[in-house]
Amino acid sequence: MDVFQVFIELAQSTVRLSTPLILAALAGLFTERAGIFDIGLEGKMLGAAFAAGCVAYISQSVYMGLLAAVLVSVLLSLVHGYASITQRGSQIVSGVAINFVVAGSTVILGEAWFRQGGRTPALSADGRFGTVTLPFADAVRDVPILGPLYSGLLSGHSPLTYLAFLMVPASWWILYRTRFGLRLRAVGENPGAVDTAGISVIWLRYRAVICCGILCGIAGAYLSLAAGAGFTKGMTAGKGYIALAALIFAKWRPKNILFACLLFGFLDAFAIRYQGYAFPLIGKVPVQLMQALPYILTVILLAGFIGKAIPPKAGGVPYVKER
């Protein structure tokens, strides 16, 4: 097949697969940069996907679904915040707990409400995000090279995908160009400095955790409202952990997050596309090897190119002023 065409298709698939990762990794960026580690991205995404599925189905409105997703995710974030900021509990334990609670309750509630085994009913077009066709996408389709790039790669994604990609520079701007961002980065490095500067460490960290909730909520909504058409139990399938890996891989920087997530997305897209494909010289490789390929390559890349990733200094430890 035309190599260029294959490239476009792979790139398109990459974009779709990396969208939830980007949103979730950016979500993690906000809390972790503020010093609150979050292994509960998975749970929040799952909870959000569930809320989106329920509400979009009941209200027949995709926006209500999105809103519900964000609300639920923020609520879960606040639980994490309460445990790790106010109660100074272990952030990892809290994250793990949230993952468990959400994994169980989405199924229980879904089953209680819809009786479809924890699934929410399939959404009609109104309950889902359609795809956006950029202006002139159809007109320029036949222009060589640029045409397919524009109409095949840039156009035709869900609005949430565009939002996710926009969120990358936006997050950068917020973190590096606003007062909130300055303070947020500071509180993750040295909360004492923030405290003595007359800023409330607690309130600042709560706000960071809320930001995380919002982005995780959108990530979850993407799964059930854009990529899928309704919620299926456990539908995050480990994406929260991969997003976490991407965040560390990216050394907690917005731009790197984009590339890390695109890389994960691409490896996934590649593995999907070339499953069962007879490669020249090698021939067909076992499915399992193809499926493990993204993870193997990640390990190799990590070992080969990315040096030590140094987390925010105050990350993971509660701020204790009076011992």
Binding site: M1, E9, S13, R16, L17, P20, E111, Q116, G117, G118, R119, A122, L223, A227, G228, A229, G230, T232, K233, G234, M235, A237, G238, D268, A269, I272, R273, Q275, G276, V287, Q288, Q291, A292
Partner: protein, 310 residues
Amino acid sequence: ADIKPAIIYDLGGKFDKSFNEAAYNGAEKFKTETGIEYREFEIANDAQREQALRRFAGDGNNPIVMAGFSWAAQLEKVAAEYPDTKFAIIDMVVDKPNVRSVVFKEEEGSWLAGIMAGMASKSKTVSFVGGMDIPLIHKFACGYIGGAKSLGADYNVLEAYTGTTPDAWNDPVKGGEIAKSQFDQGSDVVYHAAGGTGVGVLQAAADAGKLGIGVDSNQNGLHPGKVLTSMVKRVDVAVYDAFMSAKDDKFQPGINVLGLKENGVDVALDDNNASLVTPEMKAAIDKARADIIAGTVKVHDYMSDETCPY
């Protein structure tokens, strides 16, 4: 007779949108028709298999049906200890005097699905999405490939599996993505045997204006007019029969092999896909069905040698 039926589901859980759910539907049907309550249990790990079996047998439940091929070892043990209890196992053969083993010829139903897919395809490329790379799913895949290729050697069948962890059965997003990738490679009909993941496969097909094929239960109604057919596997009937025959004191132990002939598998035709099934298609599957039942066409069973000749 007075019976206290029970059913135990496999790890996928009662509502896996395919196999276990079909078993559940059979039990429900029995309940609504007879008004007899049944007990049920979803195991959460392997250690609970034997525990659940003993528990139900010890409580005097009879018959006890279990869904899934992973029960064999435990059933063998427990069935010997409770010779008066009747057991039925689906998808696996356990040779005990009080056990009924129900296995399906998934390959036969899939063969028909393959023929329909091939005939509906414009590109002569069709595809298959499996949940995990396990023998049972290869049975589906192999029959499907064989069916499609029976239309001509120039038919191409793409085949992909979702993953290697249990998430593979519950990942509609990835399922959808696999389907899209197959569409990119020219496929225009996709058949799934992937449980909850399949929901995403069918959705992707509907979204892309391609055709999907459902599995186990009749999934034609999920996207009317966009699901070509479903390869139904009458697990529900098997469960229902096990309960019913016990109630009527007609429970027969032994091996039940359910193929096209026994109505154990088939492709679903109903209002939802009526517009998609052309008369030629209908004729072709009727002929194929007849040939298979008559034995003039032999569909290869993947399990016989764990290879697929097609």
